[in-house]
């Protein structure tokens, strides 16, 4: 156990985490330069494209130092606010963390909140300034930021370049010297923290764990404490470049287990693996992940519902944080009301449905989860505009609030204030982390950041702001259900739950957008936005006047038939609302309002 070092890398997106990880693997000869597939840790295509590690994985290296071979377990952490619970579990599996900061960028909010998480978990922090090979490297400035933040000494901060390899040896040495070896009792009842799982279509669920006490052997009958389910350890092993089965994994070490579980729902991140025969206690910190954002997902063509259901089932096998239940919409037919960790998670699910399952879907207006209290004192959880009680039966509504942390440059304070106050934010605190880094803390309704907050923040600060949030509580609020009507027919799929002060503006924009997107039809179309019976915005689409080709002779027939057949196909994909045909883009438009 004395030779084991468990650590992770805390870094902002693009600060060089993957590159550094590759260098560590190379220097420890875990992979040869030749089979070096760039950036081994991010192994989903989608992650690579989005530049984020969605799922944490672990990789083991052996490092020979002064005649002793050390075992390093590098645990990867996801890099986006949507996945902060997963980050916390990965951190809990480590004794140390490399704090990686881009020398040209300085510290970002995301990094800070993860850093605090790491400090809360008593991790030894090794600060590293990366990309020192770059012209724009501002080493002294970043050093000051780091010192301000964690109160270390200047000479404790390592300088490195993942690209050129400068400083890599020093990092490896620091891992040995500064990160404490794990402690634990190999003979005690088994307690292993499950910090992540992946789905493999041949092997089922592969769960990653860190053993705190006891030993997990191949063939053991194990038990997940939170779910109470028992399984056999068909295979245990460690992760090198691939999976390497071993006979046992003991306290202090990190590994994987395969039990034949097929559904990700059964393995909950943060759960404790123990032995059925001699159970240990639950490791603290377990939480059920709760979806934050809800939206409907419907097949573009109603007949494809069964296929979509299949795809959702399969998707959930490897993404337990996705929740869904059946939903029916008058406009869109059968579909699912899905819960996501955040908007990014929602986008990822949508893209995976498209790429991996070939499903094109319509996603409805996302909303957070509201609490509605009826006049009879019932509490209703509203994840869907349709669940909103009638106005006459409604006593009050509460909406979720978050604590938002924004770090930026002092010159953007004004813009950020305007943005956040405009989003119903309440400024709690403003402090200078360093002379050039200011931190603003707001309390804000979650629903306000669901829509376009990130993009606005980016543009208001020219990208020099980072953002993180944690949910705090529910507060009473004037939330209304806004409906869209086409020729007086309600389009349920376009209803939105929204703060009254936003409704008018949102309704107007939505009506305008719909006017753009709805094809003209043989009669006039009235587009209205309404709260209850009160119309708050309207647009008209005049009837189509002329839709006829002038010539239809011998040479025109073939071309024209194809054109009209295509039009007919397009119509099939449209949804009929009353007498109005609505193309799918119209349903997606809501997501793209500015």
């Amino acid at each position: 156990m004395k030779q084991i070092r468990n650590f992770c890398i805390i870094a902002h997106i693009d600060h060089g985490k993957s590159t550094l990880a590759d260098r560590l693997l190379e220097h420890t000869k875990t992979i040869g330069e030749r089979d070096m597939m760039n950036q081994v840790l991010d192994d989903m295509d989608l992650e690579r494209e989005k530049g984020i590690t969605i799922k944490s994985h672990a990789i083991q290296m052996q490092y020979l130092h002064n005649g002793t071979t050390y075992i390093f377990n590098l645990i990867d952490t996801p890099g986006h606010v949507d996945f902060s619970y997963e980050v916390s579990r990965a951190l809990a599996a480590c004794e140390g963390a490399l704090l990686l900061v881009d020398a040209t960028q300085g510290i970002q909010a995301q990094t800070i909140s993860n850093l605090y998480l790491a400090i809360d978990n008593d991790l030894e922090i090794i600060p590293i300034i990366n990309k020192i090979d770059m012209d724009g490297a501002k080493i002294p400035e970043v050093q000051d930021q780091i010192i301000d933040l964690i109160g270390c000494k200047e000479d404790e901060i390592l300088l490195a370049s993942g690209k050129t390899g400068i400083g890599i040896e020093a990092i490896l040495e620091a891992i040995v010297k500064r990160i404490p070896a794990p402690t634990g009792n190999t003979e005690a009842p088994l307690q292993a923290l499950m910090f992540d799982s992946v789905f493999n279509s041949f092997r089922g669920i592969i769960a990653y764990f860190r053993v705190f006490n006891g030993t997990l052997k191949k063939g053991d009958k194990i038990k997940f404490v939170a779910t109470g389910e028992e399984y056999f350890a068909d295979e245990v092993g460690v992760l090198k470049l691939g999976m390497q089965p071993v006979n046992e994994i003991s306290a202090g070490n990190v590994g994987y287990i395969i039990t034949g579980i097929k559904n990700a729902k059964e393995v909950k991140v943060g759960d404790t693996i123990t032995l059925a025969s001699n159970p240990g206690e639950m490791i603290k910190g377990f939480e059920e992940v709760k979806p934050m954002v809800f939206a409907g997902i419907f097949p573009v063509v109603t007949e494809d519902f069964e296929e979509l259901r299949d795809s959702m089932d399969k998707l959930q096998l490897n993404d337990a944080s996705l929740t869904y239940e059946l939903e029916t919409s008058q406009a869109l037919g059968f579909g699912f009301r899905c819960g996501f960790l955040g908007l990014l998670h929602m986008e990822i699910i949508q893209e995976r449905l498209e790429r991996e399952f070939n499903q094109t879907v319509i996603t409805t207006v996302p909303n957070v989860s509201f609490h509605a209290y009826t006049t009879r004192g019932e509490k209703i959880i509203v994840n869907n505009p349709a669940q909103m009680p009638e106005l006459t039966k409604l006593d009050r509504i509460e909406e979720p609030y978050i604590r938002a942390q924004i770090i930026s440059l002092p010159e953007y304070i004004g813009n950020i204030m305007t943005l956040c106050l405009g989003k119903r934010g309440i400024l709690l605190n403003q402090s200078y982390l360093t002379t050039t880094r200011v931190e603003l803390i707001f309390e804000m309704p979650l629903t306000e950041i669901v829509f376009d907050f990130y993009d606005k923040l980016k543009s208001q600060t020219r990208g020099y702001a980072s953002f993180d949030y944690t949910p705090i509580d529910y507060r009473e609020s004037d939330i209304v259900k806004m409906d869209i009507l086409l020729n007086s027919e309600k389009v349920d799929a376009l209803s939105a739950l929204i703060h009254r002060s936003r409704a008018q503006d949102f309704g107007r924009k939505l009506c305008e957008k719909l006017k753009e997107l709805l094809p003209r039809q043989q009669f006039q179309i009235a587009i209205q936005a309404a709260i209850g019976a009160k119309v708050i915005a309207r647009e008209n689409i005049s009837a189509m006047r002329k839709d006829v080709t002038a010539k239809c002779y011998g040479g025109d027939i073939s071309r024209k038939r194809k054109l009209l057949e295509k039009q007919k196909e397009g119509k099939k994909r449209m949804r009929q609302i009353g007498n109005v045909e609505v193309p799918q883009e119209a349903f997606l438009a809501v997501l793209k309002l500015d």
Binding site: Q522, F523, M544, R545, K546, D547, V548, T549, A550, K551, C552, Y553, G554, G555, I557, S558, K560, R561, L564, E565, Q567, K568, K571, N579
Partner: protein, 373 residues
């Protein structure tokens, strides 16, 4: 009964709105005529029915020499069975029409002229970049009638920016006054890859005004009805008995053979079209090969074509015909599909036919698409 179409791909200059296949250099016009004659011989077996209509279109067939025309007609007679009373139409531009030519055409057996008038208004004609002026337009008709051509059709274009409602009325009135038995009236259409398209794109010209076009159409329908014309297809009007046999055959699904570059042929179950390139066409024909692409139509595609073309005609979609040629199920589906258009007042159901109403005529495409199987 079948038809033959000959495409003569040459014009003096390019009209701004035109997307037909033609070359503005007439250097090879005689060679081209020879090649088309050769194609006629090569494809002598394409039609198994006697030919009741022959149509010289283009391009500008009135650019053909009398010798070439004669040669082509002879080729057709040599290779096909042509009925005695066949309708033989020549498209002619006003600027090519003179007494001498008219007499020769008459001698050759051409019994119908389709004159590309487009407008009787100079501003309009020059806006379109036509090769003729208003005076030539008028004169060509008078000359043709004097030469003994009574079966004349003219093309008129409406909805151009230069044409007011009043000028449009005068154009139509002029045609009525000249006692022309058949009129093809087209809404100005912006086709891709035309000068007009580019000019609109570059904002050198306003886009077509849909409202104006609709008004012109509605006025036209009224005026011509009052003058005793029958509106027998969206863009075609005729005095009783003077419908174009050739064009009607397209809408009745009759077979036709198309000769010349870009010409389309149809034999009931497949459509094919020759390469739209003069040089490639002549090269290929010189090696006794017809350069074409072909498309075989499924029964459903055939039905859709029938729906699309017949809906545009006065008679409309005959459900008896659909039941007989396709199936009862298809015919029922058509009625069901037509219901919404009937409710809107755009389609009527009479004598087991689905017909467009006056308002429906302006919406024919969308309705046809909606009725497609």
């Amino acid at each position: 009964m079948a038809g033959i179409y000959l495409h003569i791909p040459f014009c003096k200059k390019a009209c701004h709105y035109c997307n037909f296949h033609f070359s503005a250099s007439t250097r090879y016009i005689n060679e081209m005529a020879q090649a088309i004659g050769t194609e006629a011989a090569l494809r002598r077996r394409y039609l198994d029915e006697p030919v009741a209509t022959i149509y010289f279109g283009g391009g500008t067939p009135s650019l053909l020499s009398v010798t070439s025309l004669q040669m082509l007609l002879q080729k057709l007679r040599d290779n096909f069975t042509i009925t005695n009373d066949a309708e033989i139409t020549l498209e002619a531009n006003p600027d090519d029409i003179n007494v001498e030519r008219l007499h020769s055409w008459k001698m050759l057996g051409i019994n119908r002229l389709s004159i590309g008038i487009q407008s009787f208004n100079d501003a309009d004609l020059s806006w379109m970049n036509r090769a003729h002026n208003a005076y030539q337009a008028l004169q060509s008709i008078v000359l043709a009638q004097r030469a003994g051509f009574s079966n004349i059709t003219i093309d008129l274009i409406y909805g151009t920016p230069t044409l007011t409602n009043e000028q449009w009325r005068r154009n139509v009135q002029q045609a009525i006054d000249l006692n022309i038995p058949h009129l093809s009236c087209y809404a100005l259409t912006v086709e891709p890859n035309t000068a007009l398209h580019k000019m609109i794109e570059n904002k050198k010209m306003p886009d077509v005004d849909e409202e104006k076009q609709s008004q012109h159409f509605e006025l036209l329908v009224r005026w011509l009805k009052d003058a005793g014309y029958e509106h027998y297809e969206i863009s075609n009007f005729a005095k009783p008995g003077c419908e174009s046999r050739h064009n009607s055959s397209y809408w009745q699904g009759k077979p036709y053979l198309g000769l010349g570059p870009s010409a389309h042929s149809f034999n009931g179950t497949s459509r094919q079209w020759n390469v739209a390139n003069n040089a490639l066409y002549m090269q290929s024909i010189s090696r006794s090969t017809v350069p074409f692409e072909i498309e075989h139509l499924t029964p459903m595609q055939q039905l859709n074509e029938y729906i699309m073309t017949s809906l545009r005609t006065r008679q409309g979609i005959s459900l008896n015909h659909v039941s007989a040629q396709w199936s009862e199920v298809d015919s029922m589906a058509l009625i069901k599909g037509a219901k919404r258009y009937i409710m809107q007042g755009n389609v009527v159901f009479v004598n087991n036919h689905l017909q467009l109403t006056r308002s429906g005529k302006l919406l024919a495409d969308g309705i046809a698409a909606g009725l497609f199987r």
